[in-house]
Structures are given as C-alpha cells and as structure tokens.
C-alpha cells in the first residue's frame, strides 16, 4: 500500500486545520471499510490519513421525540441498529444500515463514511434522502448545513470544500402516520453492491387513506443517488392504492439514467427501478399504517 502518515485527531478544530493544511493530500479515516481498500488499490492517493473517531462531536448519537435523530459521522452502523429507540423510530434507516456489507463491515462502517464515499450505489443515501436528512459540515469558516440529496455531486465527489469535514447527520422526528422503507436488489442475499436500491417515505392523512406527502430516492441509476421529488409529489392528495403507487414508481423509473456495468445492464436497472420504487412505497405505506 502507498506510504502515508497517520494522525488521530482529538478535536474538530484539529481535524479541520489538518484537512485544510493538507488539502487533497489528506483523507479522513472513520470506519475505513472503503478508504483503506481505495488506498490499498491506489484508487485514492493520500500522504496523510486523519482518524476522526476520537472527536466527541462525531460520536454523538441522540434520538428524542422532540429533536429527532442526530447521528455523528463516526458512529458505526451496528451502534445504530442496536439502539432500540432508533430502531423503533427510524425503521427505514435500519433497513439500510443493517444490510451494508456483513456484520464485520457493520461493526466499522459509518453512515457518514457512506455519504462521504459518495458512491452512486451507496445504501444509506436513498434512505436518508427519503427521511429528509440534513448534513452538518464543519470547516475553516465554521459550520454549515446541506441536505443529503445535495451532498453528493459526482461519483466519489461531495459538496465538502477544502478543509471541510462531515460532523453529523440529522433526521427530523418521525411524524405520526408516516413511514419509511429502504430496499436494494443484489444478485446474492448479502455482501453485494446494489444493482439498484430505493428509499421511500410517506405521510398519510388522519384516516390513513390519502397521501399527504411522499419522498422517493433511487441509487445506482445515476452518477449520484437520485432524489425524485416529482415521484413523491405525484402522490400528494391521492388516495392510497396500488394504482397510485405504480404511477409514482413509473415516474421514478423514468427519472433514472442507469449505465451498464459488471453489476447490471442499463435495461435491467431501469426495470428494477420500477419494481424497487413500488416495493419501497408499499413498505413505507405499511409502516405508516402501523404495520412493520
């Protein structure tokens, strides 16, 4: 593997100044499940590796009815799905964090890292988009917030500027009669990168028969995880029915711009967009109605 120095940053300030000083010569290490492979295979170059697991703000994990969920960027997946409160409040997030890699990966991999790796096929991102998550970023000029759907700008590239660091991800508290669901399609039952993945959330009216709002996102079908607002908007005011769901799924499918590679052909991916968007919506509706 290429030669590099290692620093375990203890404060946000220290990390930011290191990243600012070294620019693209530095990279951030959290769970390491992507970055170490990329460094080893030379797909990513770095002279300095900044370990951010020692920074308090990046390890926060708080979930309250009032404030919602704040998820430190260095919190590993396992810690999220092992938290009963979070599991109950955000099953749509749990869907995603509990199927990344295997148990060994989930013990290290972080949602923050999944975001910053900015893979078009990242499994947590469509779920986060559906849940309306917002990123908190710290940098030389202080902190700023970015919506998750705006965080990835190209394969492997994010909205982070020189010296900036993802601190945490915030999810609003789940509304009553709302539900979210995430799923992916892979050839095996574990350990694969998504051929297509999909996240959806819905909010139903008091009688749980009409859509108040909905959000749908697809992964692995565009250069970045794809938020498709028009698909969700198409459901607003419609009564909950297979027809409405299929319509929205078709809109999502139409928005996809898949390519062909060793994980799937464009045509296959396009077809799967419809299937997964539909299944994601159905799962979200079921949860909104109080099922699981």
């Amino acid at each position: 593997m290429q030669d590099f120095d290692y620093v375990s940053a203890k404060t946000l300030k220290e990390a930011v100044s290191l990243l600012n000083r070294h620019g693209d010569q530095a990279c951030v290490l959290s769970g390491g499940t992507d970055i170490l492979v990329q460094l080893r295979e030379g797909r990513r170059k770095a002279r300095l590796v900044v370990d951010i697991k020692g920074i308090p703000q990046l390890n926060q994990l708080s979930c309250t009815k009032a404030k919602g969920l704040t998820l430190g960027a260095a919190v590993p997946c396992c810690q999220i799905y092992e938290d009963k409160t979070i599991a109950k409040a955000y099953p749509g997030l749990i869907d995603a964090v509990s199927l990344i890699g295997g148990i060994q990966i989930q013990g290290r991999a972080t949602v923050g890292g999944n975001l910053c790796n900015a893979s078009p096929a990242a499994d947590t991102i469509p779920a986060l988009i559906a849940l309306g998550a917002v990123c908190t970023i710290a940098g030389p000029k202080g902190t700023r917030k970015v919506r998750v759907e705006d965080f990835c700008v190209a394969p492997g590239r994010t909205a982070l500027k020189k010296g900036e660091l993802l601190v945490s991800i915030h999810l609003p508290p789940p509304k009553p009669r709302s539900g979210a669901y995430f799923l992916r399609f892979i050839p095996r039952n574990e350990m694969d990168i998504a051929v297509v993945n999909a996240g959806a959330s819905v909010l139903l009216d008091a009688r749980k028969q009409t859509f108040v709002s909905a959000r749908i996102a697809l992964g692995a079908v565009a250069p970045t995880p794809l938020f498709i607002p028009e698909a969700g908007e198409a459901l607003v005011g419609k009564s909950v029915s297979d027809g409405a769901v299929s319509e929205a799924a078709e809109i999502a499918k139409a928005a996809a711009r898949p390519i062909s590679d060793m994980r799937g052909a464009a045509e296959q991916r396009r077809h799967l967009c419809g299937v997964l968007a539909r299944r994601a919506l159905q799962g979200a509706i079921q949860r909104a109605k109080g099922g699981n």
Binding site: M1, E190, M191, I193, M262, G264, H271
Partner: protein, 751 residues
C-alpha cells in the same frame, strides 16, 4: 470382497488428526511461512490482454531503497518446446515457463511480466510501478467462437490445429480437434419421433479457493533449492520447477504446507519458480503471496465454452441418437478439459448412435486449469435436453433416464465398456427420496433433477508406516490434505491392523520424506493413497507375523494376523495383540516399518444426481435455491462425514457456477470483477442445508470398494437448477451463469 467385508474403522467418523491445529489457528499454511532474512516478492502483470513486449527497463526499480532483485522472463532458462507428463496431465514446458514469466508476448490481462524481491511487500509493490515495460498492444480475442474464425487475432503464431497427430497447415487458435463416433447418428435421428436441439454459452469461472497462491523459496549456495508452498502435489511442483529452472529433481525439496483449497487450481506452478529465481539472485529466502486479484486474473480458471447438443428419442422414451459439439476456451495456451467434457457428456446413457466433436481453443484469458471434474459441468447442460424430452413425452424425467441408463457392459460413446457402475442405483435412490415427491408449496417455484458422471483417476501414491513401541503407528503419506484425507489414510491402516484410527498418526511428507505421490486431484486420494496405506499395513502384518513366530519359536507359516493381533493357526490359544507385540519389537529384531507404493488399476467411475427446488422472482429474475438434495455413488464411504462434505461443497460450487459466478470482461479483455466483492461466490445466506444420500455400489477394482467422491458432485447442479428454473417460470436458460439479469431478460421476452 468389499460388500461382504465387516469393517471396524472404515465407515466410522473419527475426528481428523489435524483438526485441533486448524480450529486453533496453529496449522501452518503456505502463507504463514516466516524465515530469518526473508524477502517479499511481488509480480508485475500485464495491463493488456494481448500485446508484444518491446522492452522492459528495471533500472529505476532496482535503485529503490529496499529492493534486492528484479527478474524477468530472460532469467528463466529457455524451456524446451516439448510436452512433459507432470503426473496429472501433460504440459508444454515452453508454455508453462512463459505463463510464469512472459517472454516476448503477453496473452492475457494479468500475465506475469517481471518480479521484484524487497524488504517488505509494500516496497516490492512500489518497485513494480518503477519497472518500465513498453508494449505494442494487439487486438484481443475473448470468445471461443470468435477465436475459431479464420480472421481472428492469433495468440500463438506457431500453433497449428492437431487432430490425432495430424497437424493443420495454417496458423490457428484451434489447438486440437477430436471426435468420437458410435453407430450411425444419421440413422438414429431418422428413427427418432422427436428431436431436441439447443446451444449453450458458459462463462469462465474460478475455483475460488479462499487461500491465495503462495510460495517461499530458498536457493542455497550449495545448489539445493527448497520450496515451501500450497500445492495439490509436492512432487509435480518439484518436477515443474526442475524442468523450468533446468536443475535435477534431486536438487529440489518441496515442502507442502497446509493448503487452503485447490479444486484443481493448485497443480500448475505460477510463482514457485519465480520465488526460486529471486532467491538465487539474493541468497535470501523469498516469499511471494498472490493478492486475490492476481489469483482471479493470473491463475487457472475453468473454461468458458460454446456447446451444441442434439438428442433424438422415440415415443417410448428410448434415445435413438445424440450429437454434441463442444468448443472450450483453453485460455492463453492449449489444454482445456474439452476431452473430459466430451467423454462425460453422454456417459450416463446407453446410446447406440452418437457423435461428439471437441475443440480446444486458445483465447486471451488466463490459461485454464483443472477444476473439479474438469469439463464435465459445462457438458452436463445436455441434461436440460433430457428434461425437455421427458416433458414433451410426458414422462417422469427420472424414469426417462432409467430407461436409457448406462450399466455394466454398456459401451461408452468414446469406446470403452463400463465395468460395474452405480448409475441405476443413484437414479433409483433419487426417485425414492422424499424430496422428489414433496410439495413445492408456493408460486414461481420449480423442481429440477439432473445426473452427472465423472471418471475419477488412480495414479501413483506412496506411504510408509512405522510401528511405535506404545502400540501406535506413525504414518507418512504424500497427498496434501485438502479435505481430511490424512485421516482417511490413517483409517486404512487402523482397519487393517485392527487398532483405533486415533492410534495412527498421519503426516503428509515432503518430497524427501515419502515416495513419489501424484497430486491430490482426480478424486484419487482415498482410492490410491488409501490403497498405498492399505498395502503398507499388509507389509506390517507380514513382519509382525514373523516376529510372533520368533517369540513363539514356531514357523511364521503357522502365524496369521486377525482381529488386531497375531494368532497361531495350529494353536489359536496362542495370540498376541498388536499393542503387546509392538512393545516387543526391540527384542525380536528391531523396528517394523511397512512400506508401499502403488499405481493401481481398477478405478471406478462415479455418478451423482441432484433434486433442487428453486423460487424465481419474476420481477427481478433472481433465483433462490430452497431445497437441495445430492445423491452420489461413493463405492464405499471410508469417512462418511468427509464424503458428505465433498458432496455438499461440490454441489455449492455448482450452485455458484449456475447462478452468479462469471468472469466479466470489457471489450479490451480486462476482467472488471476481479475481487470477491464482484466475483460472487455463494455465501451461507444464499443456501439451504444440502441433503446428502450416499449410495454404495462397491467398486470391484478396490479392496474396500472405493470409487472416489471429490469431483462428480459439481457436475449436475447447473443443469438441475436450469431445469428447476424452467419448471418455476417456464423459461429454458441456455447460458451460465443464470444470473438475475439474464433470467429477467428471458422472462420479459416471454412476456
């Protein structure tokens, strides 16, 4: 004979002797070798699938601090362009050498071009990037049918098509063509009431052993070379190294470390001679361990193939004629297992009229190696036509197979006559299994069956067994142990001497410590090495009888060995147990060592059948295996747990081959999925339990009736799953793998 013999040890399930070392992490595999002053080697590999090497400049690499040596193809003595018998298949030495380190041409992406030895692996890796190789890139040819065309890019300009000694006159990528013909196929097809014909396309797949290739070499100043490595055959490594390095075998000792899987892929050498060259240049031990990408891109996969099969049958379900055309990708150099595939394809059936044509074709992919019943799995896709005939005739598919099943006395399409075989017994056991009639319980579910054949081989094995004074035996045999075989070997000695398996301590010897032994492959170890151990035990018995005779002061003719001891024929009250006698050896003439080397005939072929239930998701094309049963004729199961293990492991490799495993190439001939992330071998979450039924039709050619079990279980799964998919969603797949994308495509086509 075998079927009447009463066994005490054979057929039991003792804990393997090497087990504790392996569950505690103490067992030493090739990659675990560490030595004082050891250097680490890394191999530079071609980024191109087909190119001429214009020049290699190593100056920069040599000047990197920590680098001790660099070697290229020039450092390999020119190997003669001749074919050597390497114990398990013949190999052209020039090609073998060029595959270890290319000379003037690279023939696949990942082809070894140079190697570096440095103080650690990271420095060696950095040095690779400093080696400057100038290539003239040539167009690659990746598909077997493309490669057969007259205008295809030629890999080996000197290559001419040979068909039984007849050489073609123009250059070609077709290395050889052969043909089997029995009876009159044309007439047979005229007599048929229905004829089915299909073509199949199968992708390149890899053996996928979890341990990557590794080799550590120390070339002493006295000219003695020692190689520690993971190999299926220490003696074949010794011979290959001797041929490639041009030194006598007596100057080479190969120490077979524990091996992390082989399946046929760890027979040919790759890095062993390279580590040796680097050691000679540096005077230090040099260790090379391949990365997973190197294993996938640079070591023997098993061929992709194009297969066309035509079968005719009459209304009664009798096959009247069969025809097959098999074209296999040999990879960069000739030597695909198309011959075996051609001999196996119709072997389960008693055919009057048949013709099989086989073609061995070079393409710009890694040179293929053996993989568990090499060539037979591709060919077994013919089983999907048998299923189709049964469906069209409204016959039970197993009844149809039984109607045509091969049995003792049947002449195979390739000529020879079958001895006693268990084809019928396997089919009957399959039909009688509760799985065969169990309800499927759900939509989009289907059940498939298929039958497969593999020859098994015998070859040479040696063993020596020393009697210890405490009544135990130390056994040295030469078969590297990939699946518990040293325990199976010990069980033969224990059975014959009437002692416990635990009282025989088996070790796998290096090439200086045991007689010549061929590779662990061809399902031969239990058959042949077990037989050597059986003979070594007979040798011990003979000597013990003489000792007992001396003790009792009677003639040795009056002493026989039975029930775990010596007894006097004339006075059966005179009896001494093995343990008692072992304690007296010192005073009766000294130590007793039993020895044997065998090259046995009497190999027994094996049949396996599968019943598999699948569920196909019609929206995604994904196939889930719900239930799987494998029925196999083992002849005699020495250690049933490890026989089941072979059946289960082989079945699951077949399932992976059927559903998801494939080399995914881009148009430039670059493998795009050279990692265990995207080369998708089954995980335990993809599988059900694998039910096993061991059928025992004793092989009359073996003292215990052993046939060999390792390979045949990989033969039927792909065809069985293809049949199951058809019965689930009504599509006949004509390719491997039957990955979700391809199944979905067919489902959508069907509408």
């Amino acid at each position: 004979m075998a079927d009447v013999k009463e066994f005490k040890v054979v057929g039991t399930r003792p804990i393997r002797h090497d087990g504790t070392d392996k569950v505690t992490g103490r067992a030493l595999y090739g990659g675990d070798v560490r030595m004082a002053g050891m250097l680490y080697g890394k191999v530079l590999r071609s980024p191109h699938a087909h190119a001429r090497i214009k020049s290699i400049n190593i100056r920069k690499a040599l000047s990197l601090p920590g680098v001790r040596a660099v070697v290229t193809g020039k450092d390999l003595p020119d190997a003669a362009d001749r074919i050597a018998e390497l114990g398990e298949g013949a190999v052209n030495l020039k090609y073998l050498g060029n595959n270890c380190l290319a000379d003037d041409k690279v023939l696949y992406k990942g082809h070894a071009v140079a190697a570096v030895a440095a103080v650690n692996a990271h420095v060696a890796e950095e040095a690779l990037s400093l080696i400057n190789v100038k290539y003239e890139v040539l167009p690659p040819v990746l598909d077997v049918r493309e490669a057969m065309k007259d205008d295809a890019p030629l890999l080996l300009p000197e290559l001419r098509t040979t068909s039984l000694g007849q050489k073609g006159d123009k250059p070609s990528n077709v290395a050889s063509h052969f043909q089997f013909k029995k009876g009159d196929p044309e007439k047979g097809f005229r007599e048929a009431d229905l004829i089915v014909e299909r073509e199949f396309f199968t992708a390149t797949v890899h053996q996928g052993y979890i341990e990557t290739h590794n080799a550590t070499a120390m070339w002493n100043p006295d000219g003695l070379l020692t190689i520690w490595c993971s190999t299926q055959g220490a003696f074949t490594v010794r011979q290959q190294a001797s041929e490639l390095l041009n030194i006598p075998v007596s100057k080479i000792k190969v120490v077979p470390m524990e091996i992390g899987g082989g399946f046929g892929g760890k027979i040919r050498v790759y890095i062993e001679p390279v580590a040796a060259l680097l050691s000679r240049k540096t005077g230090r031990p040099v260790k090379i361990v391949m990365t997973r990408a190197e294993v996938l891109e640079g070591t023997g996969p098993t061929p992709g193939s194009y297969i066309r099969v035509k079968i005719g049958a009459n209304r009664e379900g009798r096959i009247t004629a069969a025809e097959a055309y098999l074209a296999y990708e040999a990879g960069a150099y000739p030597g695909s297992p198309v011959g075996a595939g051609a001999m196996c394809i119709f072997a389960p059936y008693d055919l009057e009229n048949a013709q099989v044509d086989g073609y061995d074709v070079v393409v710009n992919k890694p040179q293929t190696s053996a993989y568990r019943a090499p060539g037979a799995t591709n060919a077994a896709l013919a089983e999907t036509l048998i299923d189709e005939i049964a469906e069209r005739l409204k016959m039970d598919p197993i009844d149809l197979r039984l109607k045509n099943a091969a049995k003792e006395g049947v002449r195979r399409v390739d000529g020879p006559v079958f001895p006693r075989i268990g084809c019928v017994e396997v089919l009957e056991a399959t039909r009688n299994h509760p799985h065969y009639t169990a309800p499927l319980g759900g939509p989009n579910r289907g059940r498939g069956v298929a039958l497969g054949f593999w020859f098994n081989v015998g070859l040479k094995s040696s063993a020596s067994a020393s009697v210890n004074a405490d009544g135990t035996v130390s056994l040295v045999e030469g078969s590297t142990d990939i699946g518990g075989s040293r325990t199976t070997a010990a069980m033969h000695v224990a059975e014959e001497l009437g002692i416990a398996a635990e009282d025989v301590r088996p070790v796998v010897g290096d090439t200086d410590s045991v007689g010549y032994t061929d590779v662990t492959g061809g399902s031969r170890v239990t058959f042949a090495t077990g037989w050597a151990c059986y003979e070594a035990a007979q040798d011990i018995k003979r000597q013990l009888c003489e000792r007992a005779a001396r003790l009792w002061e009677i003639s040795s003719d009056d002493v026989t060995y039975e029930n775990g001891g010596c007894v006097s024929r004339s006075d059966p009250s005179r009896r001494i147990t093995f343990k008692e006698l072992a304690g007296k050896l010192g005073d009766t003439g000294g130590p007793v060592v039993g020895r044997a080397s065998v090259d046995p005939q009497g190999v027994g072929g094996a049949f396996a059948a599968n019943i598999v239930d699948v569920e196909v998701d019609p929206d995604t094309g994904k196939t889930q295996v719900l239930r799987f049963t494998v029925v196999q004729d083992a002849g005699k199961a020495i250690h049933p747990s490890y026989v089941e293990g072979q059946m289960q492991g082989g079945s699951v490799q077949g399932i992976g081959w059927a559903l998801n495993e494939e080399y995914f190439y881009d148009s430039k001939g670059v493998m795009r999925n050279a990692s265990l992330l995207d080369y998708r071998m089954p995980t335990c979450l993809d599988l059900p339990m694998i039910d096993t039924v061991i059928v025992e039709v004793p092989n009359p050619g073996h003292p215990y009736g052993v046939r060999g079990v390792g390979e045949v279980p990989i033969v039927p799964p792909a065809a069985a799953i293809s049949n199951a998919i058809y019965h689930a969603v009504g599509i006949r797949m004509n390719c491997l793998p039957m990955s979700p994308g391809k199944v979905l495509e067919e489902i959508l086509k069907k509408g």
